[in-house]
């Protein structure tokens, strides 16, 4: 039976708690509170109630008839996390952690954010639960994501610019952890993916498994069987972990898709599992992009949500035992998939999710029409329209053929 992490937060060699001593007790407190909460029917009912009444779950399973027809291969289904409140799967986790924070008596939330998606989710649930929220965001990202910054402020969050390092997500995470070290007595640190020290990878998985649980039920109802392949994008890996987890012991091929940026043979990618090496980042043993001296390397992807130099330790583990296949998709392939889904199905996917889609398209083409591929559509692409506009105007048009 699949039963990781162990009591030390280890997924095989991966995971653990590589944090300053100051955080050991705060982490232990979260671990204890989480264990109790997950065993408490009232907690689970409250979590489900908020998912339903506030965030709009269950999200639908959508068959993609046009895409399927066009590819002439396997049937393609989409799990529609884009229809969640705030537009991505991130809210599932934010709701779970906020509920836990409330249970622990914490009234202040710390979060890190890159593109702003987790920041918006955190700010949203903080508003909903009447908590304070402070979001750390790299100064570079703040410039690139002006609208999400304003959105967080509208929601009442304080957005703190981070000037250290390269001023992007990795540095925002460092700074969030530093702030937490100083304020761990009354703040709850809400991590946005299945990364960080134990129990975060496990906790976020538990709060994202609703994706896979729902999808499994829905898929069985619709097709009377399980999908042949499930595909999800992997930044930190929370949507993928949430989707995969309930299928780990089933006979289903699971494919995680990393961002290959300008190509995994260039320095410009974020393909952590494909090209990274083992090490410690943000409190966890996992694969990461680093130089020979162990200095962390800034990743690159057109997708801000996949632009992270580490990856959740459970993914490192699943890669190491061969249960999940990890592949990668370039910027150009993802952008083509972004346009394809928009055009064919009237669904503009998040550019992150478009990575999963691009891989699904490649796979489906080679499959039989009685086979099925399930894609986790982790978020909506409205946030990316501006970037795409620039990208496609910049002579990088890979598939645009509008009539005017």
């Amino acid at each position: 039976m699949y039963n990781v992490p162990n009591e030390n937060g280890r997924f095989g060699d991966f995971g653990g708690k590589f944090v300053p001593e100051t955080l050991m007790i705060p982490l232990e407190e979260i671990e204890e509170a989480l264990a109790k909460a997950l065993a408490d029917d009232e907690f689970k009912a409250e979590y489900m109630r908020i998912l339903q009444e506030y965030s709009g779950r269950p999200t639908p399973l959508t068959f993609a008839p046009n895409l399927t027809k066009k590819l002439n291969g396997a049937k393609i289904y989409l799990k529609r996390e884009d229809l969640n409140h705030t537009g991505a799967h991130k809210i599932n986790n934010a709701i779970g952690q906020a509920l836990l924070a409330k249970r622990m008596g914490k009234k202040k939330i710390i979060a890190e954010t890159g593109a702003g998606q987790h920041g918006v989710a955190a700010a949203t649930v903080a508003a909903h639960f009447g908590m304070e929220c402070i979001v750390f965001m790299g100064e570079e990202d703040i410039k690139r994501q002006e609208l999400n910054v304003f959105r967080m402020k509208l929601l009442g969050a304080e957005v703190v610019p981070v000037y250290s390092g390269n001023r992007t997500l990795k540095d925002a995470t460092n700074e969030a952890i530093r702030y937490w070290v100083q304020h761990c007595d009354d703040h709850f640190y809400m991590i946005g993916s299945v990364v960080g020290p134990h129990p975060y990878p496990k906790m976020v998985r538990e709060f994202q498994r609703i994706i896979g649980d729902e999808a499994k039920r829905q898929f069985l109802e619709r097709e009377g069987k399980l999908p042949d392949i499930i595909v999800a994008c992997v930044g930190g890996g929370s949507n993928a972990m949430g989707m995969f987890y309930p299928f780990l012991e089933d006979d289903v091929t699971l494919v995680g898709v990393e961002a290959a940026g300008k190509g995994i043979d260039t320095p410009y990618h974020a393909a952590t599992i494909t090209k990274g090496t083992k090490g410690v980042i943000h409190g966890s043993m996992t694969y990461l992009l680093q130089d020979e001296h162990g200095q962390i390397i800034e990743p690159y992807s057109v997708s801000a949500g996949l632009d992270y130099p580490g990856v959740g330790p459970e993914h490192a583990y699943l890669a190491s035992i061969g249960r999940v296949r990890y592949e990668s998709v370039t910027d150009d392939e993802a952008i083509a998939a972004f346009q394809l889904l928009s055009r064919e199905e009237g669904i503009i996917p998040a550019i992150e999710s478009a990575h999963a889609l691009a891989k699904a398209v490649q796979l489906a083409k080679t499959m039989r029409s009685d086979q099925t591929v399930l894609v986790c559509l982790s978020g909506r692409g409205d946030k990316d329209v501006q970037t795409m506009m620039k990208y496609l105007k910049g002579g990088n048009d890979v598939a645009m053929s509008n009539r005017n």
Binding site: M24, R178, V181
Partner: protein, 267 residues
């Protein structure tokens, strides 16, 4: 160093290897010894120093631009010895560079170059066993930290401490602090009750008054950011041949003035 005996509270300065340059790091170490340092903490620069505040982050960035690495930092030790540094030298490094070098290679290298201890701020007790064992085999103690939040962990950590025990003065990262928590004395007393090794305190200590207040409750004070900030201010002068000596003297005077209270009283 494994059986450190303390007669007066120790002065334990922290500087970053390679800041502002490898050569000057050696001279700064010597200056600190002249200023009365008992142990030197030699920091290895890291891209993502999450236990450090802005001052040490900037120093690490400067040192990384000088191509400083874990290996080169360790290899500075024999050069320091050559120039006359006699006090014990502790390598302060985040865990990831150690992993990439290889834990065994790391200890082999540390041993060969005469390091007297290792401190890894992001390797808490629970994760430290393999490293601790390798250190023991190499005769290099792994220094543990305890924090104000450690509570029930204090006993476990203290009773397993090697070399000395590093008490984090307050919640937060390294940096200069105007005030230290009022409960610090109690915390130190509690730690000392459990510890078989000397108990030192660090994080935020940046004024002689603080040193004066703390010296009766501990066996030593670690001073990092205050010194690193001074180095940052002196950086240009330290790198000009004709101003270097004067800058080193100023650094020495500053270190002395900070730690003067340690000489005044005997515990």
């Amino acid at each position: 160093m494994q059986c450190l005996t303390v007669t007066k509270p120790m002065f334990i300065p922290f500087i970053v290897a390679g800041d502002p340059s490898p050569d000057i790091t050696i001279e700064l170490a010597l200056a600190l010894q002249e200023a009365g340092a008992d142990i030197l903490e030699l920091g290895v620069p890291y891209s993502d120093p999450l236990a450090d505040g802005p001052i040490i982050q900037r120093a690490a960035a400067r040192a990384l631009r000088q191509q400083m690495t874990l290996q080169k930092a360790i290899e500075l030790i024999p050069e320091m010895r050559k120039k006359g540094v006699k006090i014990p030298i502790i390598i302060f490094t985040y865990y990831n560079p150690v992993l990439q070098l290889g834990e065994e290679s790391f200890f082999a290298l540390a041993q060969k170059n005469g390091a007297n201890g290792v401190l890894i701020p992001d390797l808490p007790f629970e994760e430290s066993e393999p490293v601790r064992k390798l250190g023991e085999a190499a005769g290099i103690p792994l220094i543990s930290l305890v924090a104000p939040t450690s509570k029930k962990r204090i006993e476990m950590i203290a009773s397993n401490a090697q070399g000395f025990l590093y008490c984090v003065s307050s919640l937060g990262v390294t940096g200069v602090r105007d005030t230290l928590p009022e409960t610090l004395n109690e915390f130190l007393t509690e730690v000392k009750r459990h510890s078989r090794v000397p108990v030192v305190v660090g994080f935020g200590i940046s004024k002689s008054e603080q040193v004066s207040m703390l010296k009766n409750y501990c066996d030593g004070v670690v001073i990092g950011s205050a010194l690193v900030q001074k180095i940052e201010q002196l950086s240009d002068r330290l790198q000009k041949p004709d101003e270097k000596e004067e800058a080193l003297a100023e650094f020495r005077r500053y270190a002395r003035s900070l730690t003067a209270p340690l000489d005044e009283t005997v515990q």
